[in-house]
Amino acid sequence: MKNAELQKCVVGMVLALAMSAHAEDFPPEQIKLGGDTYSRHCAPCHGVRMKNPEGAFDLTKFPKDQESRFRNSVTKGKNSMPPWESLLKPEEIDALWAYVVAGEKQ
């Protein structure tokens, strides 16, 4: 591998790591709000505490570097999931992302 390619590769990896969300990125109160929002609106299909989803996507497997995909699915809907943007407040959607990333041991 040439130096320039190696450099590109390292930069890419660093960027990917930097863009991937981590638990420490979110304050505990935001994770808690996300957990409350989740249990009210999401748990019936995605499972209590994201365990044993009955018929929906297993959110413990949601890629942590795809925040925009998550937000798009929640707001606009995806497959059988309806759009939630007219019901959930922006801070609740932020909190849901925090909960999905950091809310449960995975």
């Binding site: 365990k51 009955e54 018929g55 019901l87």
Partner: protein, 558 residues
């Protein structure tokens, strides 16, 4: 000229007549009427799902083959029952109503049911539609967004649309309407969203609301004494999501009601009439003539909506007009349908919250499981909230006096939350924490079975080891029980033994309602294929069955 005009007028009348189902035809459907038609939900107002046809029987069924299949272009699941009148079949799902030629399966018209994509937020358990109603040249269908439509049966053109509730407040409809004496009755659903249940009666010609019977009482009614003396009845559930049966002689329609709202009983201490009950109502007025509560103080999500099948049973040597009902709560009930007196109530699957019904008091006998749950403990509940039987309708053979249906056996881990849920219109209103106990894979998911109404005991039971069945059943004078499973197998079982005599793999899960009828003198069988209609389907099939709605019609190979 005059005679030509009279002839034309007569022709027009006859032409209209051929498309206009009369009340007499509805009353005689599955009850001595033409076998060319299937006009009512349940193959008769009694909902027996029994056919006297026997061309397809234990000997000939091996020659049963598909003669046509038609796409319904729907990925949400097919729970519906097909309806047939005068050579046209009507199929409904959450997205559309389709009219097809019975002989060829070719589509005559398609009516798209439009709804806001956010509506599924207020639908707990799948985007379903279980069928239409036919009367007087019209096709009636209830939409998921709580509108009822009347369509011209010949063209599919919309004649009227009647909004019976606001979906944004948590109301939706999944059941088929029913027409009796010019009144279109429709139930609704939303028991997970703090709704107040009701049945409406609409004028069949105009869609105008004639009556509305709420299924929780207001403070002026006697039954209000079973509620806290506040306004909790306004969010108390008791939705009405399965079509009521009807006895024309007694002029009573029998509707089941759902779980209470919220799920936790701590928010509404009391028996909570008419939650988890059957109510016998007058179709003309909506008046409740009698009621019986399957699950007093309901807090398990034991909806009492399952169909109420009307038939006659020989009890102590005499025939008695009864109502039979296999409840989500695990008990099989027989009631005198004239008075509402309970004649039997026994477990038909593993049931740990109750032992049966005390026939002296008419009340269910609870075990300590129910008491510990109400006291706040986490308990294992059998059956799981999905019930020993869910919506998938059973069949009753008046000759053998047995019931045929798919049973489920799973266990819930269930606890009432310490904090009561906050009510917000159109949002979940539950207040419990419920999960499913890991399955012991050496045990079946459930059974196909023949059950004795008075005891709940099986005449036979076929364990379903790899996949459960969420399919309705149908029984015929040919000695066959037709049913299906989530893998998509549509099967004919020997009514006497449960042995599988024939099966056909459809493209997706069979969780619908088969029918049989005649076309040009030949017996046909039709069923919908299309996995869906529940929150458990993906878990149960482990992603190995994919959705797609299709209609399948079968006949004997010549």
């Amino acid at each position: 000229m005059k005679s030509v005009m009279v002839g034309m007028a007569l022709g027009a009348m006859l032409g209209t007549g051929a498309l206009a189902q009369t009340q007499q035809e509805l009353t005689r459907d599955g009850n001595g009427g033409s076998t060319d038609n299937v006009l009512t939900y349940g193959m008769g107002y009694h909902q027996q799902r029994y056919s006297k046809l026997d061309q397809i029987n234990k000997s000939t069924v091996k020659r049963l083959v598909p003669i046509w299949s038609t796409s319904l272009a729907n990925e949400y699941g097919e729970q519906g029952q097909p309806f047939v009148y005068d050579g046209t079949m009507y199929a409904a799902n959450v997205k559309r109503v389709v009219a097809m030629d019975v002989g060829t399966g070719r589509i005559k018209w398609n009516f798209d049911i439009e709804w806001d994509p956010a509506v599924p937020r207020v639908v707990c358990c799948g985007l379903n539609n279980r069928g239409v109603a036919l009367f007087d040249g019209k096709v009636y269908v209830a939409a998921i967004d709580a509108n009822v439509y009347a369509l011209d049966a010949k063209t599919g053109k919309q004649l009227w649309k009647s909004k019976i509730a606001e979906w944004k407040d948590g109301y939706s409809i999944t059941g088929a309407p029913s027409v009796v004496n010019g009144i279109v009755m429709s139930g609704m659903t939303g028991g997970e969203f703090g709704v107040r249940g009701f049945i409406v009666g609409l004028d069949a010609q105009t869609g105008k609301e004639v009556w509305r019977r709420h299924t929780t009482p207001d403070p002026t009614e006697k039954a209000y004494s079973t509620w806290p003396q506040d306004d909790s009845y306004k969010r108390g559930g008791a939705s009405t999501w399965i079509t009521g049966s009807y006895d024309p002689e007694l002029d009573l329609s029998y509707w089941g009601t759902s779980n209470g709202g919220p799920w936790t009983w701590k928010a509404r201490p009391g028996d909570n009439l008419w939650v988890a009950s059957v109510i016998a109502i007058r179709p003309k007025t909506g008046e409740i003539v009698w009621h019986y509560q399957w699950t007093p103080a309901e807090t398990y999500d034991f909806d009492g909506n399952n169909e109420n099948v009307l038939g006659e049973l020989t009890l102590n040597g005499t025939k008695r007009k009864v109502l039979m009902h296999a409840d989500r709560n695990g008990l099989l009930y027989v009631l005198d349908r004239t008075t509402g007196e309970v004649l039997a109530g026994n477990p038909y699957v593993k049931t740990n919250w109750a032992t049966g019904v005390d026939l002296k008091t008419g009340r269910v006998v609870e075990t300590d499981v129910a008491k510990r749950l109400r006291a706040g403990e986490q308990v294992e509940v059998e059956p799981r909230w999905t019930g020993g039987k869910n919506w998938m309708p059973m069949a009753f053979n008046p000759g053998t006096e047995k019931l045929y249906f798919s049973m489920l056996e799973e266990t819930a881990i269930y606890q009432l939350n310490k904090e009561l849920p906050e009510y917000k219109p159109g949002e979940r209103y539950m207040g419990v924490t419920n999960t499913t106990k890991d399955r012991d894979t050496s045990k079946p998911w459930g059974y196909w079975g023949a059950v004795l109404p008075m005891t709940g005991k099986p005449a036979w039971r076929t364990p379903l080891m790899d996949l459960p069945s969420w399919s309705g059943a149908m029984v015929t004078a040919g000695g066959l029980v037709f049913t299906g499973n989530t893998a998509g197998d549509f099967a004919a079982l020997d009514e006497a033994s449960g042995k599988i005599l024939w099966q056909f793999k459809t493209p997706s899960g069979v969780n619908s309602q088969p029918i049989t009828y005649t076309y040009k003198g030949k017996q046909y069988v039709t069923v919908f294929s299309g996995l869906g209609g529940g929150t458990s389907a993906k878990r149960e099939t482990a992603g190995k069955v994919l959705p797609a709605g299709t209609v399948w019609t079968f006949a004997l190979m010549d």
